[in-house]
Amino acid sequence: MAHAATHDHHDHHGAPKGFFQRWVMSTNHKDIGTLYLIFSLTMFFIGGAFAMVIRAELFKPGMQLVQPYFFNEMTTMHALVMIFGAIMPSFVGLANWMIPLMVGAPDMALPRMNNLSFWIMPFAFILLLSTLFMPGGGPAGGWTMYPPLSLQGESIAYTIFAVHLMGISSIMGAINIIATILNMRAPGMDLLKMPVFVWSWLITAFLLIAVMPVLAGAVTMLLTDKYFHTNFFNAAGGGDPVLFQHIFWFFGHPEVYIMILPAFGIISEIIPTFARKPIFGYRAMVFAIASIAFLSFIVWAHHMFAVGLPMGAEIFFMYATMLIAVPTGVKVFNWVSTMWGGSMTFETPMLFSIAFVILFTIGGFSGLMLALAPADFQYHDTYFVVAHFHYVLVTGAAFSIMAAAYYWIPKWSGNMYSETWGKIHFWSSVISVNVLFFPQHFLGLAGMPRRIPDYNVAFANFNMISSIGGFWFGASQLIFLGVVIHCVFFSKKKAADRSWEGAKGLEWTVPSPAPFHTFDVPPVIHDDELAHGNTEH
């Protein structure tokens, strides 16, 4: 029966032989997922190198190592590379690998478009990074690209086109994910039986399709303002630079949820496994994700409290923003309740997940502080904001990705990673990341502005501590690289099909490593095999 699948040609089983055929012409969700993961890990280290430059310059007050313009290039590039190159593609890679396995599909719904989505990315980043080597230098006006500052210099054209390419890639990837989830589920895999990770990606994909085109519109207006005499953002022509901020943040706030909802999904898979209990409040988890996604469309101006909005807008956006804390609180509550009374073990993925719950919550709380419009007049554009978004993005999004890597790498590679080194990586990361970012709260509250290469000597101590944490955190990630390489190529410990004792879900019913083609025929779904099968109770 397994041969009944109608593959086009005779490549039923096993990967194609040639390197080019296998990796460049691929239509296989696992190979494309692997490509995404390798790409994003590479970008993580490139973006990380930029961050090291930033922290080295800020180690002491006064100009230390680099020119101010280069410093600004580093902050801009660091953010663009991390957001669009590291976090987003790694979630797409995880979606590629896991969603078909989790819903019992043979592959993504549109496998060739899937391959295109991936292959656009390296080119987009060649385009973006190449500007660093151009005579005029790279973009230095911040990742938010506010005009008129961002329109200085020639690199903006390359940056804009790179953003266009990334947008096209994301939209196609998202369309693919939606079509896969809605159309490729095995019979019996009802929507409300899907793993939370799949749900989180369904909603994230919707957000992506809704807001990436808006970003494309915003940067297109930048392009025509710079090169074709339009006046969208030029007050002398009746436009308004603040208009850009509105359009950008209409994209930008949903974008931050694009980077955290899949993380919520991952954590909701891992905690039940190691607490050996089904997720607490499955439906509440799903509805919380959906309501966060909805709210994310009506809070964008909390990034603009200080630009001089009308009073009514300040108040509306302040309250709408604070509302998000409610569904977010539901999620945190449910993760904790899932652990409550569970028989827990603390393997590396679980450690990262618990750290996620605690540290992401800190980031959420600082977000709430920022959401208070009058208080934000003080915090805006200070290191407090930097601390906030690094808690949600590094100890939130990035930690969840690492948790996912440890959790699923046995399925991907067929080998177990070294638990000892995984734990060393975890403890080293979790301590250093707090040394790195916690002092930035104090710096921000004391008034240190962000995106500045030099600062008042009053800020010296905390900056030095932060930089030490930064180098330490950066070095810790080399351990991660080592663990991954060791696991994939050298580990002698074979992984069981069900690599974790408490793991449930379809992905654990296929062999480890997952064969090139899985589910040639739709699998039969048994409710007790599903992590959240008993949703009625």
Binding site: F123, L127, A235
Partner: protein, 296 residues
Amino acid sequence: MGHQQQDVYFVPSKSYWPIVAAVSMFVTVFGAAHWLNAQPGEGGFGKPLFWVGIAMILGMFFGWFRSVINESLAGNYNGQVDRSFRMGMMWFIFSEVMFFGAFFGALFYARLFAVPWLGGEGHGVLTHQFVWQGYEAAWGASGGGGPEKIGGSFQTIPAWGLPLLNTLILLSSGVTITIAHHALKAGHRKTLLIGLGATVLLGCLFLWFQAHEYAEAYEHFNLTLGSGVYGATFFMLTGFHGMHVTLGTIMLAIIWVRCAKGHFSKDDHFGFEAVAWYWHFVDVVWLALFLFVYVL
């Protein structure tokens, strides 16, 4: 194997078109960025590179779609694949809606907030006293030397001339394509070809009038891309819409050829439907444009 839908899956074979597409896009935008930054009169490789990229993209579309059409004709695609394609097209159109949404948002913001504020409304900006003395905010040409004079004073296109005609043209093209669709489902080949052919012609007519209107705007009304935020929103909205009509017309023409070749059957004609959806989408965008850009 179209009838076996749920019990087997279809996974398409490897393909080199995705990588060709990625490379072509890269060549195009790299060329474009370089071209944009070229000094006036300077040669440079940007321009030729851009056109090479465009040619590669066209070739890629041709090749990729040809292979998909061949696979479809060979009966490789089952009902599930068909549904995936449909979802893909629907969500693609949704993304396009959001793209236009950004420009409509800019239009509304400029009209409702930015320009009135420059005229002194709201929180007391003094631009109407110091920068443009006596400026009273108005959308479009205000007569008084306000911000719109940045590109030289201009006039706006009256809604009830060419734009109205174009509205009627697009609306009737919506009717003709629906007639064609019904004919396809009923198996009336001749009506199908005539209806679809009429749609293509109406699309071309629309574009011709649109070009005419642009020429008019530039030559007689001094309305250009640089005519303040009015010119920017006017040309970017109508321009992007025009690009979509162009694309839609080309796709319709291709579908016409495919209909003539008998590629579609009564109950298997996703290609036709996808383009029809797209055409309706372009139609609806135009209605919004007509209302908010021309009439109001």
